[in-house]
C-alpha cells in the first residue's frame, strides 16, 4: 500500500502549485513507469481520501502508465518491454538491457476558470 505515500506526495505537489497560481484544481494528470507498481484504483482511492477538506477536494486524477523500455543486446533495437514476454520484436533475442523506468511525474493540472497562469 505504498500508493498512500505516493498520494501524499502528489497532493503536496498539487497544493503547492494551486497556491502559487491562486487557483482551484479540477483535474490532475500524472504519469508513472511500470516498475513503480502503482495500482490506479488504490492510488485514486488514497488520493480521494487525502484531498477531503483541502483546496484539491473534487480534483479528478488521471494516471498514465509509460511503457518500460529495453535495449536488445542482439540487434541494438529499443523496444517496449512486457515483463511477461521480454523477446525483442526485431530479432527475437531474449538478451536485453532494461533502460531506466519512467519516474512518477505530475504532468499537468487543469484549474477552474479565472486562475492566474503567471509563474509565481
Amino acid at each position: 500500500m505504498h500508493e498512500m505515500t505516493v498520494a501524499q506526495s502528489l497532493v503536496e505537489v498539487i497544493l503547492q502549485e494551486a497556491e502559487k497560481r491562486q487557483g482551484k484544481p479540477i483535474r490532475a494528470k500524472m504519469s508513472c513507469g511500470q516498475l513503480n507498481a502503482v495500482n490506479d484504483e488504490v492510488l485514486s482511492f488514497a488520493f480521494d481520501a487525502l484531498v477531503q477538506g483541502t483546496p484539491c477536494e473534487g480534483t479528478k486524477l488521471e494516471i498514465e502508465h509509460k511503457a518500460l523500455q529495453g535495449k536488445c543486446r542482439g540487434c541494438g533495437h529499443t523496444f517496449a518491454v512486457e515483463l511477461s514476454d521480454t523477446t525483442c520484436p526485431n530479432c527475437k533475442s531474449e538478451d536485453f538491457e532494461l533502460l531506466p523506468d519512467a519516474p512518477l511525474i505530475l504532468e499537468e493540472i487543469e484549474f477552474e476558470e479565472g486562475t492566474d497562469d503567471e509563474e509565481g
Binding site: G23, E107, E108, E110, E113
Partner: protein
C-alpha cells in the same frame, strides 16, 4: 478552464534524500545494499551469518526496517555489528529520509558495507530509492518457485538473488521448488542478476555469495 504543464517529480522529496545518502556513502566508499524480500525469507539470519563469517574481512553495519519491535536489530547487535532499527509504524517500505537519519547514527568510518534490511514486502519497497548501490532480493524455497513471474519488478531491478533455505529441499520434506525454473525466470527479466542458492542455516552455498560481496566491496576501494 486553464491547463498548466507542471512536470514535477512526485517523489522528488524522497529522491533528494536518496541522493544525499548516496553522496554520504560514495564519499566514504561504502557499499550499500538494499535487501528486499517477503517476511520470513530469512534476511536477518542471512545477515547474521554473513557478518559473523566475514568478521575478519568486511565490516558490516545494518539498518533494520520493521513495522514494529527491535528484535532484528538486537539479533544483529549480538554479532557485535552496529545496527539501527527503524520502526515504520505501519508503513510498508523504508523512506530515504529514514535511512538518512540512520546513516548519521551508524559509525560509518569503521564500516566497509551497509545493509538496509527493508520491511518484508516484495512489492512496495522496490519503488523507493534509498541511495543504495544496488538492491538484492531474497526468496526462500518455502515461498514457491513462481515468485519471479508473479512479482517481476524486484527481480528485474536487483543486482543479486539469494535463494535461501535450500536445506529444506533435501531430507524428504517434499518442498516443491524448481531451482532451475527460478534461475531461468529471473534471468529472463534480468540477464545480469547474480543468483546464489544458499542455506543461511547450514552454510551451504554461502561462500559464492561472500566472494561476490567481497568483489563488490573491493570494486569501490
Amino acid at each position: 478552464m486553464k491547463k498548466v504543464d507542471v512536470g514535477k517529480r512526485i517523489l522528488g522529496a524522497n529522491e533528494t534524500y536518496a541522493l544525499r545518502n548516496s553522496q554520504i556513502l560514495n564519499r566514504g566508499k561504502k557499499l550499500c545494499l538494499n535487501m528486499i524480500s517477503s517476511p520470513g525469507s530469512g534476511k536477518t539470519t542471512l545477515l547474521v551469518r554473513t557478518i559473523s563469517d566475514l568478521s575478519d574481512t568486511v565490516a558490516i553495519g545494518v539498518i533494520e526496517g520493521d513495522v514494529q519491535t527491535d528484535i532484528d536489530a538486537e539479533r544483529i547487535r549480538a554479532t557485535r555489528a552496529p545496527a539501527i532499527q527503524i520502526n515504520t509504524e505501519g508503513a510498508c517500505h523504508l523512506s530515504a529520509a529514514q535511512v538518512n537519519k540512520a546513516l548519521q547514527e551508524l559509525p560509518l568510518d569503521d564500516l566497509d558495507a551497509v545493509f538496509i534490511e527493508n520491511v518484508g514486502n516484495l512489492v512496495c519497497p522496490s519503488a523507493f530509492a534509498l541511495g543504495e548501490n544496488g538492491k538484492i532480493v531474497v526468496l526462500s524455497v518455502a515461498e514457491g518457485d513462481d515468485k519471479p513471474v508473479k512479482y517481476p519488478a524486484i527481480f528485474a531491478k536487483s543486482k543479486a538473488l539469494l535463494i535461501n533455505k535450500i536445506d529444506l529441499l533435501a531430507g524428504g520434506l517434499q518442498v516443491d521448488f524448481d531451482l532451475d525454473r527460478v534461475h531461468a525466470d529471473a534471468r529472463k527479466l534480468n540477464k545480469d542478476i547474480a543468483v546464489f542458492p544458499v542455506s543461511a542455516k547450514t552454510g551451504e552455498g554461502m561462500q559464492q555469495w561472500y566472494d561476490w560481496l567481497d568483489a563488490q566491496v573491493r570494486s569501490l576501494r
